[in-house]
């Protein structure tokens, strides 16, 4: 119901329409969905996870475990949203979850009837037989019953923003402690960022009362915010939750930008990625429920939550509320209720006496205070209508039944230590407050081993207003003076973990600890009985604290019950680990801007647009896109590849080779260096000449290959594979910087500076001659030579090298003139029948010639000797990277699989990845193999299938026929030379 007066956060002049399930209702601006529903008399907001019991809100903030809804519809529907944090807006639509067919009537609630047979971990003890039943019967049923909200169906249409930020002091929490900390720090000139998860500043203080600087806390809060806002190096944000404090002061904050407006033009949420010099954790504390029978019935709330609903939003479940407590703070709720005109028939206080100022004020207000009293049970279907009182120390004999619409419970408070504990801060048990508090002697530490988190206010265990605000100021600046503050004195609480303390098993099976996951006192005791005695075992066995609130309400109560069951002290039982995030973070915000076009960088060659304009189909090569082939109208890819191969072999082909790595190596020691990096000798390469080179890692395995050209006496140009460009440059620098740092060598990666075009085929020379400017005759530019000059007016370096076996030139020009050269070649090549060809034609042609391809013939386990590339290894060199590795027994083994050509007897193409079937089986019963296919293609040139493969002692077994197995078939193929086409190399010798 909505109270006639009050409500500090609502605007009674601005009604808002919203829909919950199929009913339209009206709330007020400033409401949360939860307060609006309570205002409409709706307490039932959800169903529990396991037993599907009716659930109402138990809290009023981010710790809420029960009131979870699906917010929004269609592609913008978001499951598991806390109604207690959801700001109401015009037209809001929310749906209840985890119920069928309806929230009020949920058939799954049948689980509740048999709940005594579904204790913690029951599923470990049954569903064991018959074997197949788990997957096909039991598990599907459990999966259907489990889960909370529905899975989103469509792609998220919203955008998410991320920003990096840096500050000296980051304050988490905009209550009075956080504000005092931020003020104190900012006044020292520090760069300060202050984040508050709620839409408004001040935290609990404006609700709880007391005075700051002689006035209402709200007044001081407003002044503090105003002062901070005026400072240039202070950043203030509400609706921004500090989700995680990671190592070395890396802080994640999720800011809600448009949710409260029901959407907007900009990003929906922003993930702040902040490096903070230090963090002040002022996130407050969570009130603890009391574990009494029936404490999960809708209408039973935390005392502070009911206080919030009445004071902030002027709503309450009904005209009468009973308060049950073990401390003085809950009396504030009783007084607030009374002030709001809600009757409080009784305050049940478990303590033998309650004589502090607050209890006295309650009595003075005419409220009955029953000390030594607890609750034996609650009455009501779907919502509480009465409570049964009992002796707090007894077995639960009902002394009195009192009608009420709500129960405000308080079991004391637990500081929100998450941001302290996430990066490794330790806790100590505070006996007086019966709570875990940060242990200042064991703080989380940063890069220099310095403390990086300080806790302030309630998060540090300073629960009373004066201590709270003072510890805040100290945390901001040890020298700062705190504003004077006053609040009523409070008598110590009496730890109460089970109410009544003498309750028997039947009652203990009705005392909820984890409301969402339906974990009860009896479950924790069962876990202890069965030997799941570590707090982690108990958590995992019962699922205590594993709900979406991650145990904010249940953990301490649960481990206290466990400690009692084990007859251990609570600190000896310890806590479970606090893991990020503090509250769940939207995955979209973590993924950030990287969607669609900017999901990953896409590298374009200087000729990319030309390829696109001429119908290239692409192949990803690392982050590059390279033309796979250029299909013509109604031409298949395979046909296009065949055409490109044949045309290149018969006339003229152009290949964009710009992605190949081009690394300059220069200096007095460059030759000596390259002799170590490559298996072959590069220092002996004459200027003007090219040589094919292999690179191995220290293991001896082949990692890259390419043509090396000696540009000058002290300068070499090393070509690498496309994938190798960066990798090999880093590899070279690694050795130069960390091993041979006295060698005088510079390297420079020029890959992006140069466009490189392969001009290939019988007419290649004619094409270049047509451009004019350089003599590319056989005499002037023999095979494996290079020359520098000008082609078509473009400064160019021309390498006469070939990966196809054809007459072939690779022309390198500045990247910004690549298109110009390409188009000139296309024009000049027109009469010569020029066609561009793609990577697949390149692969086919090199395979026809038996040239290996890094990544096909190699896979990180292959050495050059396996590939018949011994000729590229200098025998004279005493050392090169990989030489020692290749000397090890397994790599020198004559039985290694080595490269051969393979031709199927029927001319077909061997399936990719096929293995050569050997004789018999190995010790593990696996079919023996004696080789595998590494490359397999249809060769347009030979008009049949060809393949390269690695076969045990392959080169010694020419002519043998082997059986290959893949895709359920067997294929017979003969071992042949890997050079299928033009073995004499006539084509390029012109």
């Amino acid at each position: 119901m909505r109270l006639e007066t009050g409500g500090r956060l609502i605007d009674r002049t601005r009604p808002l329409r919203f829909r919950f399930d199929d009913r339209w209702m009206t709330g007020l601006a400033g409401d949360t969905l939860a307060s609006a529903l309570i205002g409409q008399g709706r307490i039932l907001m959800g169903r529990s996870f396991k037993y599907h019991r009716p659930r109402g809100p138990v809290a009023a903030g981010l710790e809420e475990p029960n009131a979870l809804v699906t917010l929004g519809t269609g592609a913008r529907a978001e499951p598991n949203v806390r109604a207690t944090q959801t700001e109401l807006f015009q037209g809001l639509r929310a749906d209840s979850q985890n119920r069928w067919p309806s929230l009020a009537f949920d058939l799954m609630a049948a689980n509740d009837l048999v709940s005594r047979f579904l204790p913690a971990g029951f599923y470990y003890k049954t569903f064991i037989r018959p074997r197949a039943a788990w997957k096909h019967l039991f598990e599907p049923a459990i999966r259907r019953a489990a889960g909370l909200g529905p899975a989103p169906k469509a792609a998220d249409p919203d955008r998410y923003d991320q920003v990096y930020a840096f500050c000296d002091v980051l304050v988490a929490g905009g209550g009075v402690a956080g504000l005092a900390a931020a003020l104190a720090a900012a006044r020292t000139g520090a760069r300060v960022m202050l984040f508050e998860q709620a839409p408004h500043w001040g935290g609990r203080a404006p609700v709880d009362g007391g005075t700051v600087a002689g006035g209402d806390p709200a007044g001081w809060v407003a002044a503090a915010v105003a002062e901070l806002a005026a400072m240039p190096d202070v950043t203030l944000r509400t609706r921004a939750t500090v989700a995680a404090v990671h190592d070395h002061g890396y802080v994640l904050v999720e800011e809600r930008l448009t949710d409260h407006l029901g959407g907007g033009p900009g990003p929906r949420r922003r993930l702040w990625r902040i490096r903070a010099g230090r963090v002040v954790n002022a996130c407050g504390a969570f009130e603890r429920p009391l574990a009494f029978p029936g404490n999960d019935r809708p209408g039973v709330m935390l005392a502070s939550a009911l206080r919030d609903y009445v004071v902030n939003w002027a709503v309450a479940p009904g005209p009468a509320a009973v308060v049950v407590t073990n401390n003085d703070d809950a009396y504030r709720t009783a007084l607030a209720l009374r002030r709001a005109g809600i009757s409080v028939p009784v305050i049940a206080d478990a303590r033998p006496a309650a004589d502090g100022p607050l209890p006295q004020a309650a009595r003075a207000a005419g409220i009955r205070v029953a000390t030594g009293t607890g609750i034996a049970g609650t009455v009501g279907r779907g919502r509480v209508v009465a409570v049964q009182l009992c002796d707090a120390g007894g077995g639960g004999h009902v002394t009195e039944t009192i009608p009420c619409d709500a129960v405000a419970m308080s079991g004391g408070w637990s500081p929100a230590v998450h941001l302290w504990s996430q990066p490794g801060g330790r806790l100590r048990w505070d006996e007086a407050g019966a709570m875990f508090v940060p242990d200042p002697d064991h703080p989380p530490t940063g890069a220099a081993g310095e403390p990086i988190v300080t806790c302030a206010g309630a998060a540090a265990g300073a629960l009373r207003l004066p201590d709270c605000i003072a510890s805040g100021a100290r945390a901001g600046d040890p020298a700062a003076a705190a504003p004077p503050a006053e609040a009523e004195a409070e008598a110590p609480l009496l730890p109460v973990w089970v109410m009544p303390s003498g309750a028997g098993p039947r009652k203990r099976a009705k005392m909820w600890l984890d409301f969402q996951n339906d974990v009860k006192v009896s479950d924790v005791e069962l876990a202890a009985r069965e030997g799941y005695r570590s707090v982690e075992h108990t958590k995992r066995y019962t699922t205590l604290g594993m709900a979406t609130d991650q145990g904010k309400l249940s953990n301490v109560n649960g481990l206290a019950v466990l400690a009692q069951a084990l007859d251990e002290a609570i600190p000896r039982v310890g806590t479970t680990t606090f893991r990020p995030p503090f509250v769940p973070v939207t995955i979209g915000a973590l993924a950030g801007e990287a969607r669609g076009a900017v999901f990953q960088p896409l590298r374009r060659t200087p000729l990319h647009d030309w390829h696109a304009a001429h119908g290239a189909v692409w192949e990803p090569v690392g982050l590059w896109r390279r033309p796979y082939c250029y299909p013509r109208a109604n031409e298949s890819r395979a046909d296009a590849v065949a055409r490109e191969v044949l045309n290149t072999r018969r006339a003229l082909g152009l290949l964009d080779a710009s992605t190949l790595g081009k690394i300059v190596v220069k200096g007095p020691d460059a030759g000596r260096f390259l002799d170590m990096i490559y298996t072959g000798a590069m220092s002996s390469l004459p200027v003007g000449r090219c040589r094919y080179g292999l690179l191995c890692n220290e293991q001896g395995f082949l990692i890259d290959d390419g043509v090396v050209a000696r540009l000058a006496e002290d300068t070499w140009l090393c070509h690498t594979t496309s994938g190798g460009a960066d990798r090999i440059h880093v590899w070279m620098e690694d050795w130069l910087q960390t091993e041979w740092w006295n060698w005088r060598v510079f390297t420079l990666n020029l890959t992006e500076q140069l466009a490189q075009i392969a001009v290939v085929g019988p007419h290649a020379r004619k094409a270049l001659e047509a451009l004019g400017g350089m003599d590319v005759s056989k005499a002037a530019l023999p095979f494996m030579h290079w020359a520098e000059g000008t082609l078509a007016g473009i400064p160019a370096r021309v390498f006469r090298i070939s990966f196809s076996g054809e007459l072939s030139y690779e022309v390198a020009v500045p990247a910004d003139r690549g298109v110009e050269l390409w188009e000139r070649l296309v024009a000049a090549g027109g009469p010569l029948g020029v066609m561009p060809y793609g990577t697949e034609a390149l692969h086919v042609m090199r395979a026809e010639k038996g040239f290996i391809m890094i990544g096909d013939e190699t896979d990180g386990t292959v050495i050059p000797q396996d590939l018949g590339l011994g000729w590229a290894i200098s025998a004279r060199k005493p050392d090169y990277l990989g030489k020692r590795g290749q000397m090890r027994p397994a790599l020198a083994d004559p039985d290694r699989w080595r490269l051969v050509g393979l031709m199927t007897l029927d001319g077909s193409v061997i399936p990719e990845g096929a293995y050569a079937v050997g004789a018999g089986r190995n010790a593990n019963g696996q079919t023996a193999t004696e080789g595998r296919v590494t490359s397999t293609y249809f060769s347009p040139t030979l008009n049949r299938g060809i393949a390269l493969g690695l076969i045990r002692r392959g080169p010694e077994r020419m002519g043998e026929v082997l059986t290959f197995a893949a895709e359920g078939r067997r294929v017979q193929a003969r071992i042949v030379s890997p050079v299928f086409h033009d073995p004499e190399g006539k084509a390029q010798d012109v």
């Binding site: 074997r131 598990e139 259907r144 889960g147 998220d156 069965e530 570590s534 939207t586 990544g855």
Partner: protein, 415 residues
Amino acid sequence: MSRYSVFAIVREGLRHHTGWPRAWASPEPRARYDAIVVGAGGHGLATAYYLGRNHGITDVAVLEKGWLGGGNTGRNTTIIRSNYLQDPSAAIYEKSRALYETLSQELNYNVMFSPRGVMMLAQTEHEVRGYRRTAAANALQGVETEFIGPRRVKELCPIMNIDGPRYPVLGALWQPRGGTGRHDAVAWGYARACSQMGMHIIENCAVTGITVEGGQVRGVDTTRGPIGCDRLGLVVAGHSSQLADMAGFRLPIESLCLQALVSEPIKPCMDVVVMANTVHGYMSQSDKGEMVIGGGTDGFNNYTQRGSHHHIEETLRALVETFPMLSRLKMLRQWGGIVDMTGDRSPLISKTPVGGIFVNCGWGTGGFKAIPGSGWAMAELMAKGEPGPLAAEFSMFRFREGRFIDESVAAGVAH
């Protein structure tokens, strides 16, 4: 010791479950045992279990520094598969997978093995070739896998975006009998079975030293006193190097942090396990409804169980691109575990330079799926003093000879 069954549940339900016995005993350590296994994680407990079951050795203590199953067994993403490329890997992972099929019945403890199927997406031509090769190898290894096309992928996992645009799904390596299990239950089930054989599982008992005389192990020093033995198995993923150091030798291992996370629970939307190597992430949905997500490891040595957050962001970026519906879900919890990385990313089940000491470690990011097979092979090694065929190739001395079992060839993604 009572058997678990629906009848036992009903019986206990009628007396408020007051009659359940301890799942495993917590005895005081004796002065010596025939064999000691250090590490009460899945691998250690499975080793002990098969020592008793297969080799009749039940005078065994399993020493655990913290709480049973608290290492990587309790913090992994529970994927079970055996679609490995190399023969030795395929052999031990398939043995393991096969043992999982009947583990609940064997242990009388529901470990919830769920062969829902595992697919590894091929999103580049290179991956297509790689997974076709694996499928060909698996067929000869007796591992049931097939390479399936994009349409089939979409049928099996409707929430997936197979159209890219950046990395359209070109196919997948599909293992229908791969799946998931309940990680804690595996440790608890083995512990209960070991305890029923009279073995001693001793928690909160850290090994502080290893006694070696004349190159032969004599026992261990622990925080609960010295304990003698002639056979010592070190099965302590994440701390293998520390234990080896106590015994005076080094291992080819580096300890890295691997992270995982779960979303808030949602209603069932994904019935298979999906691994995507190119974009580096993998995901399944737990019986609770959480999307269970993992990615790659940090590149630097780390014992903190707290990884670097950018890996989480990279993994989620990748998965949101492949599963656009993920974007509006929330990350509920993230955590890290310390994994042993060997020189070839394959495990060690091996004799050591010290007589009587055996190591079982180096499972990298894929240990959970191997638990039963690893225990089976390790038990054989400890019982006979020599490796059987399953363990033969996993000697720690293979690196000296250059005999690698390199799986990065096919699967680079963590699992």
